[in-house]
């Protein structure tokens, strides 16, 4: 397939991996910011091609993982209301709230639909005027333009039965929060290419200046990720720090100005709680006053929500790279992909789920190797 298979070529991957091994002289901790990159790393076994010195820390860029518990509980409450058709991206359905997930609500009679685009939810609202259609608008800057467009469209159509439960999160404030965390170990970032396709990368030079940390805009195919790592290691080894674009076929400095203008109109910046991390100032978007009537939190008075995070779950430390998933006491015991305590065990790109699925194999392989005295 054009523009896909070219970036999965095995021989080129091996060549890049060799080059990375050749230039690496010291241990480096590099964070891939985006869950899509984590997925690609696990899916393709990229980490196994890297020298031992390079540690990849799975970042907080999985929207499923960082959506706060309170909001998931709100989603569960709204989805349970009679007359509501609750629309969501598929992988939010299994994320555990305080007591259940959206699948449970569906089995209890909730009308829950998986959609691929928020615009599909607008269509559902038009087709089902007797229903209140609510879209679960989560994600980073990547999913935000389509969500903004949906709300904008709903307003233009005068739809009274469409609203959005919004919990958008923003990458740059999260990077700053990670860098200022007292337990931070990250020495460089692979920035999320899709986020930059919308936002450009004009937001990054100040972060580089402040923390003297390399930031390389990186894509998602195996060769993209390897090239991102190669450029990052080259900077680290040379003691340099700058913003580099290793995803130039998709991203430019300015980003998508039309999308940014739409985002500015529909959303406003707000403080946002990140699941497992805590509240980060000015790290999210909510609907702006002009669009407040489409805010599901505003439309549905969902009160009496008491959130209760599992006391055993240490996803916050995992998301910041301070703890390896298998160092958590609940890992693989109370907490498994079948019975996740935290969101990082839910989606395949969640760090804990990735470790659970892959880690068992690594342990077995190591056990199978002969031990030399």
């Amino acid at each position: 397939m054009k523009y896909m298979n070219e970036f999965r070529d095995g021989a080129t991957a091996q060549r890049l991996a060799t080059e990375i091994r050749q230039i690496t002289t010291r241990p480096w901790a590099i964070m891939e910011v985006c869950g899509g990159q984590t997925h690609s790393i696990i899916r393709n076994g990229i980490d196994q091609l890297l020298p031992e010195e390079i540690e990849l820390i799975h970042g907080p860029g999985c929207p499923v993982c960082v959506t706060p518990l309170e909001l998931i509980d709100k989603a569960l409450a709204i989805a349970s209301l009679p007359g509501v058709m609750f629309c969501s991206f598929g992988d939010m359905l299994r994320v555990p709230g305080s007591s259940k997930d959206l699948f449970r609500v569906k089995s209890e009679g909730g009308d829950i639909r998986v959609v691929y685009s928020p615009l599909d939810a607008v269509t559902l609202a038009r087709k089902n005027p007797e229903k209140q259609v609510v879209f679960f608008g989560i994600g980073f800057e990547t999913t935000a333009p389509a969500n903004a467009m949906a709300v904008h469209l709903a307003r233009n159509l005068g739809l009274k039965n469409f609203s959005m439960l919004v919990s958008h999160v923003l990458v740059p404030p999260a990077l700053e929060a990670i860098m200022t965390s007292p337990i931070n170990r990250v020495q460089a970032f692979l920035a999320a290419g899709h986020v930059c396709s919308v936002m450009g990368y004009w937001q990054y030079p100040p972060i580089v200046d402040r923390f003297h940390i390399p930031i390389v805009i990186t894509g998602f195919e195996p060769l993209d990720v390897l090239e991102g790592i190669r450029r990052t290691v080259a900077q680290l080894e040379a003691g340099e720090s700058s913003v580099e674009n290793a995803y130039a076929r998709v991203c430019n400095f300015e980003g998508n100005k039309t999308a940014q203008k739409m985002l500015e109109e529909v959303f406003e910046v707000t403080d946002r709680a990140w699941r497992g991390v805590g509240t980060i100032p000015k790290s999210g978007w909510r609907l702006s006053p002009a669009y407040r009537e489409f805010d599901a939190e505003h439309r549905f008075q969902v009160s009496g929500i008491e959130t209760k995070e599992s006391p055993l779950c240490r996803a916050g430390e995992v998301l910041q790279g301070a703890l390896k998933p298998n160092q958590c006491e609940a890992f693989g015991k109370q907490c498994t992909p079948r019975n996740p305590l935290g969101a990082t065990m839910v989606s395949a790109e969640g760090a804990c789920a990735a470790y659970y699925n892959y880690g068992r194999f690594v342990t077995l392989e190591k056990a199978a190797q002969p031990v030399h005295a």
Partner: protein, 348 residues
């Protein structure tokens, strides 16, 4: 055959839709059997219309299997619930190495369901049964109130005859065996997804729905060294191989680049964030065969219309028992775990 202009023979014409009485056991039920089911499935055993059917079977072991079909939508590119209901059970029997002979067909129909749709489904079943060489020898119809079913559910059960001395089963994979898949994977699941409400996308992907018993016959004709057969339906190749690894207490190592995936299925999966290895098939099989027999079995499969794209995708190993591991295109490895529930489209 063109069913667009299908009309019910009298007196069913009086009822363009199913009414509760069609499942009541009275005159309406009798009419449905006489004018719809019998003409489609016609055979001596069924025509006796007894409470049970009496079958002549050869001496020896029988294989027996049942499956229920609840697919939505009922008609999809490349097939219908009728095709699935026949082929699904035929395939389950064939995966034990059995020669399928007889099927039962139980219908649970929602009040108000269109009579012409039912007729189309039954016609498709009859054609599928004929193609697979099986007879529908007993059946049942129930009607549930409107709102209590998705149009039409079908249960089929089937009986097949086991060749003497043959042992094929999910516990019999041995280290050193070779894993073969009979053709492109993920076609059925993506065809269904392409027409599902809210996920509709334009594509030419068709379901691979087919009865595999003739393919299995041909394979057994060249070798009895076939240890495991599986049709990777729900959960796809990944789930079947995980189950085999677990039940046989062996590891399975596949080469991801060897998996046959059609380019439009590949594109659709990429677009939706799905992995074709977890997507359902309805006309493919996985065979685990002893290494010396692999080439002969593969050649025989490729000579059969349902196995033209058959490929060796991996081997059975004593390492990592119970686990399915894939070598990736760039030379890494990854564990392919059993899925927890349905494969969920990813957000980004």
């Amino acid at each position: 055959m063109n069913f667009d202009n299908w009309t019910c023979p009298l007196p069913l014409l009086d009822y363009p839709n199913i009414v509760i009485g069609h499942g009541g056991g009275g005159k309406l039920s009798a009419e449905l059997i006489e004018h719809l089911f019998l003409p489609a499935f016609r055979n001596d055993v069924l025509e006796n219309l007894g409470d049970s059917s009496v079958l002549n079977v050869p001496a020896g072991r029988l294989a027996f299997s049942t499956d229920s079909f609840v697919v939505k939508p009922l008609f999809f590119p490349g097939g219908s619930i009728g095709d699935l209901a026949v082929n699904g059970t035929v395939n389950d029997l064939a995966m034990s190495g059995a020669r399928p002979l007889f099927l039962s067909a139980g219908f649970i129909i929602e009040e108000g369901f269109s009579m012409s749709s039912l007729a189309q489904i039954v016609q498709r079943m009859a054609q599928a049964a004929q193609k697979a060489g099986v007879t529908v020898v007993t059946g049942d119809t129930k009607v549930v109130e409107m709102g209590h079913g998705d149009g039409c559910y079908i249960n089929t059960a089937g009986i097949g005859v086991m060749p003497e001395g043959l042992r094929i089963g999910p516990t019999l994979a041995r280290p050193g065996d070779v894993v073969i898949v009979s053709g492109s994977i993920g076609d059925h699941g993506m065809a269904i997804m392409s027409v599902r409400e809210s996920l509709e996308f334009e594509t030419t992907i068709e379901s691979d729905c087919a009865a595999l018993n003739t393919l299995v016959d041909a394979m057994l004709g060249v070798s009895r060294e076939i240890h495991v057969l599986r049709d990777p339906t729900r959960g796809g190749v990944a789930s079947s191989l995980n189950e085999i690894a677990g039940q046989s207490k062996v590891g399975i190592m596949i080469d991801e680049t060897k998996l046959p995936v059609k380019s439009d299925v590949h594109s659709a999966c990429e677009l939706l964030g799905l992995d074709p290895i977890y997507v359902a098939n309805e006309g493919k099989l996985i065979a685990i065969v002893s290494a010396p027999a692999a080439d002969a079995v593969l050649a025989c499969m490729r000579a059969h219309p349902l196995g033209r794209e058959a490929a060796i995708i991996g081997t059975v190993t004593e390492k990592h028992p119970g686990m399915l591991v894939a070598k990736t295109g760039i030379g890494g490895t990854r564990v392919i775990p059993m899925q927890i529930g349905e494969q969920l489209p990813r957000i980004c």
